[in-house]
Structures are given as C-alpha cells and as structure tokens.
C-alpha cells in the first residue's frame, strides 16, 4: 500500500514477438531494460522500450492501445502466457510494473487465434468481433422512433444483470486465453445483455442464431467450459452468460419458426471494405 514503492526500479529481460506483417514469419527478440519504475504501467514500460529501440536504430514494437484507462478494449498482449498479464479484472494498460520483480524475464506475445490474424508485431485484426455484432447484436429501432423511456419498467435486478454482461469491452482476452480460441464469452455477453431486457426480446431468436452462425464461420473454437475466459476477462463477465447463450440458442433453434426453418444458421460477414 501507499507510497512505499515510489522510487523503486527494476531491470527486466523482455522476449517480444516481432513480425513484419501478416505474410512474414515472426520470431521472438530479446531486449534488456534497466531502471524501470514500479509506478509505470506496462504500456509505459513498452514506451520506454520503444524509445530505446529508436535510439538503437531498430524499429519500435507496434502494439495496440488507446484509452489507457481500461475501458476501450484496444490493448491486448499475452504477458508470460496470460491474457492482459497476471492480474484478474485488469487490462494490460492498467497493469503496473509493481507486479513484476527485479531481473524477471517477461515474454510478450500477440493474441493468437486463427480469427485474429497478426497485422504486425503485437497488433492483431479483431474485426471478426465487429462482424459478429453485425450478425444481430443490436436492437432494431429507428432514430426518433423510441417510446418514452419510462413507459417500459425494467426491474433493477434485470437491469443490473444485463449490465453485468454489457460491460464487455470487446478486447478479445476471452479468445486469447481459451485453449480452443473460442469467442463464446464475447458472444454470450451481447446475447445475454439484450436477452435480459424487454427491448431485446422481439429479435432474440434471430440474434442468437445469427451471432452464433457468424462466430462459427469466423472459425473460432468451441467452448469446453474451462472458464479460463472468465478469469482473463478484464470486465469480469461471468460464464453464466454462456449458459444463458446456450439456453437462448436452444429456445431459438427448437422453439422459434426461424430456428426450425434453419434460417440464419450460417451467415457471412457483410460490411468492411
């Protein structure tokens, strides 16, 4: 606690995945860093590395990041084999160097999944997630068409539970940490969010069938209920939402005209350029 750590510094050995572009083969390269303050965030440590590489005439390491406050879902990184590093409920940008010890070797890899191809170094393409949302992760309501907000009461419990799922930041840690590279937690978060609200009810069958179909055609793996996704999820989305997704899917597949007719069971991505 408190400021006992101020002024402490670490010397580190980094093993970083470098890959020029998707077509090239990648490899690990080793770098040494000295005098890293324990107050730094993990990404600030990488900033220092990049400054050092620039001075040495080597190209800086490319990595995705944006808000640096844990909410945008842009940052990623497999740090010593753990998605977003060792802390639960934390994104890489909120991970601090006080979590590491002097002399430690840190292995940094990109998210690895067939559906998340590497673009460069530690940057991967997560547009599969956008295509999954396009396949039904919304409520079809025209702008200006909405009824008065309080006309449909929603119990506090339902709202809180929906929000528990809606907090997903779409970072992909669930896919990265799953031994099968399954996207079930991501898909479940959206299905569960909208399935628990009256606004989401009219399209629930189409939504779950469409989103699961898209997930499958993006070639994510299958869920085997190991719960690694839940442990890696920085937003704390629980695997109970996966169970709700399964339930929704069963209802849609066996209980709705859409499912029985076999519509929406496979979909192909639209959009993008």
């Amino acid at each position: 606690m408190s400021h006992s750590t101020t002024g402490k510094t670490l010397n580190l050995k980094l093993r970083v995945w470098r890959q020029k572009d998707n077509a090239s083969r990648g490899e690990f390269r080793d770098y040494a860093l000295v005098g890293i303050s324990t107050e730094m965030s993990f990404l600030e440590m990488l900033d220092i590395l990049n400054e050092q590489l620039l001075q040495q005439g080597e190209e800086p390491v490319n990595f995705d990041h944006d808000c640096r406050e844990g909410i945008c879902g842009t940052c990623s990184l497999m740090i010593n084999g753990q998605a977003h590093g060792p802390d639960n409920g934390t994104t890489t940008c909120q991970l601090h160097m006080r979590r590491f010890h002097d002399g430690q070797m840190i292995t940094i890899e990109p998210w690895r999944a067939k559906a998340f191809p590497v673009i460069r170094d530690l940057v991967v393409d997560r547009s599969a997630f956008d295509r999954i949302i396009q396949a039904g992760g919304y409520v079809s309501v025209r702008t200006g068409q909405a009824p008065e907000a309080n006309s449909v009461p929603i119990s506090k419990n339902d709202q809180e539970s929906a929000l528990d799922a809606a907090v997903c930041i779409g970072c992909g840690a669930c896919v990265a940490s799953c031994k099968n590279a399954s996207a079930m937690l991501f898909v479940a978060a959206k299905v569960s969010h909208l399935a628990q609200l009256p606004q989401g009810a009219p399209e629930r069958a189409a939504r779950v069938l469409g989103m699961v179909g898209q997930m499958d055609s993006e070639e994510f793996g299958n869920c085997t209920n190991t719960s690694e996704c839940e442990a890696a999820c920085p937003a704390g989305v629980s695997v109970t939402h996966i169970a709700r997704l399964n339930r929704e899917y069963a209802k849609a597949l066996y209980g709705s005209p859409l499912g029985l007719k076999g519509e929406l069971l496979t979909s192909s991505g639209t959009g993008g350029d």
Binding site: R15, G26, F28, M78, N80, G81, Q82, A83, P86, N88, M105, T107, E109, R112, A113, K114, A115, F116, P117, S177, K179, N180, A181, S182, M184, V212, G213, M215, D216, E219, F220, G221, N222, C223, T224, N225, T226, S227, E228, A231, A232, S238, V239, T240, I242, A243, R244, L245, N246, R247, E248, Y249, A250, L253, Y254, G259, L260, K261, G262, L265
Partner: protein, 267 residues
C-alpha cells in the same frame, strides 16, 4: 431437418449433443453401478437381476442401440470439436501459457479434469473396448467361464491381477471424466444458474468420487472366494450371458490434447 443439421454443425448445437449424450451416459453409469452393487448382495440377488434384464430382449436391444449411439455421437463430436479447436488457435501457438484461475496450472502434468477430457475420454474408450470383450463378447473366456452364471463370471474376470489393476485405474479415470463432465453438461445445456451452479459443481465432484469408488470397489470384492474361483485356473463353466455393455464416457466436453507448447509457468 435444418434444425437437426444445425444441432450437429453449429458450435453450440454440438455442445447440446455432447452434454445430452454425456448426461444420458451418466444416467447409465448410475443404473450400471446400482446393478453391480447387487454383487455384494450375493449370487442369488445378482443372478436374478441379470437374468431378468435379459428376459426382455426388445428392451435390451433398444437400450443397447441407445447407449452405443450416444457413445458414438459423443466420441465423434469429441474428435470433430477437438480438431476444430486445434485449428482455431491458428498456425502459431503460444510459446508460453499460464492459467489466470487461482490455483490452476496448465501443463501436461497438471491433470485438471476440464483440460484433460480428451485424454481421459480416450482412456475410457480403450477401457470400454476391453470391458466389452470381457463381459459382452467374452473374447477371452474359456469354456468354464462361458458356462458360468453371471455372478461367477464377474468373479472370474476380476480374479486376474491385471484386470484388477486396469479396472481400478479405469474407475478412477471415469470418475475424473464425469467430475467435470456432469457439471459441464448443465452449463452446455444452458442450465447454469448462479444459485444452483455451485451445488451442481459439488454434486458433480461427489458423483465423480462415487463413480470411482463404486466401480473401483469391485476389485476388492471377495466374490471370487465365495464362488471358489480365486485364480483363473479354477474357473468353471456356467451358461448365461452378461447383461452389461460398458460404463461409457460421460462428458459433454470437447477435449483437446494438452498442447506441447504449453510450458510450465514461471513463478
């Protein structure tokens, strides 16, 4: 029929089949264990149970088709999902992987039930083959054994030391497999509820232990002495057939082999 195809083709549908067949096979395990426990009640009880079971041939055929069907689907989907799951990681695997679940270790030596379903499943598959050879097809039986009553037959098979070892290990492996599979099936079928899931998980573990102890106990069963067939050499004949198929793998999970690239985590 497209909903049926979707059940077998979509990732979530496959989980329904895995979970459904898994739970069905769990139910069979319970029935099988209950029947076997009659061995402790003595030859009369057990033989009359076995004979009664075989009187209704139609029922038996339907049950056996159901069991084999469930088992084959379960195994088939295990292979399909496992190969899909391997492909889903992409061409390059991680150089290093560690679990973020407190206390769990991901590597070959860490036999967490939920990450080794593929291995336990494969072992069970091998065991079932042997078990069927022993009791259903009686491949290794001599004339004495073929002629024996069900109770004596069981005693004769279990009198061999190698069988004792194999059956004991198999009981433990099945126990491990179902200890994850039972609870997992509820999750896959969407029957997870925050209130009941901890109970289901506990039941699942208890079930696993019960299966391991229950089936494992027969290697210490003294039926051999009671019917005088302590050693294979003293086996006698008795005419009957054996009711059992086999304790089948009960899981809904799609296990993949632990990836060789997964390394021992650092401290």
């Amino acid at each position: 029929m497209s909903w049926l195809l979707a059940t077998l083709r979509s990732s979530v549908g496959k989980k329904f089949v895995m979970g459904g067949t898994g739970l069905f096979l769990c139910f069979f395990l319970v029935v099988h264990l209950a029947g076997n426990l009659l061995l402790y009640a003595g030859p009369d009880a057990y033989n009359s149970y076995a004979n009664k079971l075989h009187e209704n041939v139609a029922l038996l055929i339907v049950a056996e088709i159901g069991l084999f069907g469930a088992m084959l689907l379960h195994i088939y989907l295990a292979f399909v999902t496992a190969s899909e799951n391997r492909a889903a990681r992409g061409a390059t695997d991680y150089a290093m992987r560690q679990s973020k679940i407190p206390g769990r270790v991901i590597h070959v030596a860490g036999l967490a039930p939920d990450t080794t379903m593929y291995i336990t499943g494969a072992l069970i598959f091998g065991y079932i083959a042997l078990h069927l050879c022993d009791f259903k097809f009686e491949v290794f039986a001599d004339a004495a054994q073929l002629a024996a009553d069900p109770y004596t037959k069981a005693a004769m098979v279990l009198s061999s030391t190698s069988r004792k070892v194999i059956y004991a290990i198999a009981a433990i492996v099945v126990g491990i497999h179902v200890s994850h599979g039972f609870a997992s099936a509820f999750q896959s079928l969407g029957l997870n509820h925050p209130k009941y899931m901890p109970t289901i998980k506990t039941i699942s573990k208890v079930f696993g232990v019960a299966v391991a102890i229950g089936f494992g106990s027969f290697v210490t069963w003294d039926g051999q002495r009671r019917c005088g067939c302590e050693s294979p050499a003293t086996m006698e004949t008795a005419p009957t057939t054996m009711p059992s198929t086999a304790p089948a793998a009960a899981t809904e999970s799609a296990p993949a082999p632990t990836t060789p690239a997964e390394t021992v985590p650092q401290s």
